[in-house]
Amino acid sequence: MMRPEPLLRIDGLHIAFRAGHQWRDVVRGVDLHVAPGEVVGLVGESGSGKSLTALAILQVLPAGARVSSGRIVFDGTDLVGLSQKAMNERRGRDIAMIFQDPLTALNPVIPIGRQIYDSMRTHQTISHKAALARIQELLELVGIRHPRERMRAYPHELSGGMRQRVMTALAISSNPKLLIADEPTTALDVTVQAQVIGMLDRIRRELGIAVLFISHNLDLIAEICDRVSVMYAGKVVESSTVETVFEAPRHPYTRQLLRCIPRLHAGTGPMPTIPGLPPRFDTDLVGCPFAPRCDEARDLCRTSEPPTWREPGHLAVCWDAT
């Protein structure tokens, strides 16, 4: 049986940063795929390269960063090296993104309704009246009450949770096939987090959008994702369905991460952490990058880079994955 072609497939993605006169790889070979309608999580600590991977998909990397090799195939086309014009046709229309800090991510001097309007009119032929009606629909869909009045509001007049909803409305305004959510709840209060996650889940089910959900919070991933990839030091170290990763992780990093999640009934005592820091990207890595912090590391781990262990629907990059 032929597996259907995924909507998004990332092959061996390397992203480099400029350090002085050299380019150094920060993302060192990421493989990822998202099927239509699927929700895939990408989890890792700060500096693991997950946000960069997301930005690379839309080709909106910051100045000083570039894709050094690899392919990002969306709907059959490799996005790497695509012309700005061709890329613009996909941005906001086929692929959309919502960002971490909704206050700084929305233009402060333009009313939110107008920002959605401009995006819609860029990608669709739609009359002025129809666009206004659609904006109201979208705002209701993301759970904003009194959309008619709110349309005219400026971002600073809304609360954090509402701004995130507005960003979501902006992102889905042209019915994208893929929505990339880059830590959408990190800047929000816990209670609001739950609401926003609920909203995202509802929307993707109703509209059938595939979602790439990026976070450092495993619990959130578990709530909304079908599959998850764990990133460390610029590479994917484990990837499988959420159930498998949570119940039968094969990579020590995943195991240690899971141990760090605070549990309500775990009793008192010091909370477990993973000692040490992730490797700096300006140093050359020898062996497994996680070895210094791994509590199961062997000499082999420190000298040689581990192979990729594979099983159908599950991969892990570790010497002891079996």
Partner: protein
């Protein structure tokens, strides 16, 4: 928005009052009283007293100020100059429009060109255009306008015959000669602010382009012109403020430039007044400048409030 307008108006009026009071007190506290100037050094104490009484100069300063203020606000009457005996309204009416035209032309041209240059400079960062613009900006800020004027007169009016070396040709005498006569003065006047505004536009736009919301705009696939508009609405804010301040400052520099080009504007009125020790005229001229400056700032603030609604809501 309305309350903001009122507050700014209020503050502007306060500034005007403070400055006018300061000037009033200064001009009436110097030992060279108008009586002495008009009647000469040989005047007797009695003659001086009589003169002062006739012109209401023997009253306490506060009362004099009140009278002056009342006449100005209610009747628009700037009063008479004691030294020359002429009505100051007329003198101002002759000279003010000339200076105004010079400054307005210089300002408009400088603003349009510099915003354009600054935008190009920011968008094509580190390109040839960028380096040229930045070089010109440093030069423009450092070479004093009045020296540039002398050089240009030497080069284009003495060596060659392209522009008149001085003098103001009014519009009534023909558009061509009029434009030629104001071309060099306006250019010299605008050079400094062209440099300042280009730099300001460039740095402001660069800062805006690196903001998160511009990334969102790009990720939404907006067209290039739309992205420019999104950026400019934010980047222009400090530029508008500086432009407002610059407009007032240009009036100050116009004084010098006028003298170089022998143009009969406010500078002539001011310097003549100084030479004749007509201090009340001096006060009046400075007041005119103050009013222009305060108005320009007020307009700039209002434009900013329109561009940036957050400002309209914050208390100033």
């Amino acid at each position: 928005m309305a309350s903001l307008f009122l507050r700014r108006m209020g503050f502007s009026l306060f500034s005007l009052l403070v400055v006018s009071l300061l000037l009033f007190v200064l001009t009436r506290s110097i030992p060279d009283s108008p009586a002495r100037i008009v009647l000469g050094d040989q005047a007797t104490a009695q003659q001086i007293e009589q003169f002062d009484r006739e012109h209401g100069l023997d009253q306490p300063i506060v009362v004099q100020y009140a009278i002056w203020l009342e006449r100005l606000v209610l009747e628009g009457d700037l009063g008479r100059s004691f030294t020359t005996g002429l009505y100051m309204n007329e003198q101002i009416a002759d000279t003010f429009p000339v200076t105004m035209e010079l400054v307005v032309v210089a300002f408009v041209v400088a603003t349009i060109v510099s915003v354009f240059l600054g935008t190009l400079s920011a968008f094509y960062r580190d390109s040839l255009i960028d380096y040229l613009a930045r070089l010109l900006a440093v030069l423009g800020v450092s070479i004093p306008g009045f020296w540039l004027a002398l050089i240009l007169i030497l080069a284009f009016a003495v060596e060659k015959d392209w522009f008149p070396p001085g003098g103001f040709v009014p519009l009534s005498a023909g558009l061509g000669p009029h434009l030629l006569s104001i071309a060099l003065p306006c250019f010299c006047l605008s050079v400094f602010y062209l440099a300042v505004i280009t730099r300001m536009t460039r740095s402001s736009l660069l800062e805006v382009l690196s903001q998160d919301y511009m990334r969102t705009a790009r990720a939404s696939g907006l067209s290039r012109s739309r992205i420019l508009m999104y950026a400019m609405r934010n980047a222009l804010l400090p530029v508008v403020t500086i432009a407002g301040v610059s407009f007032g400052h240009m009036f100050g520099w116009a004084l010098i430039i006028e003298q170089i080009f022998n143009i009969g504007g406010m500078s002539r009125a001011l310097l003549t007044a100084i030479n004749q020790r007509d201090y009340f005229m001096v006060q009046t001229v400075v007041m005119m400048f103050t009013i222009v400056f305060v108005l320009a700032n007020l307009i700039a603030d209002l434009i900013n409030a329109w561009l940036n609604p957050r400002l309209a809501m914050a208390s100033l």
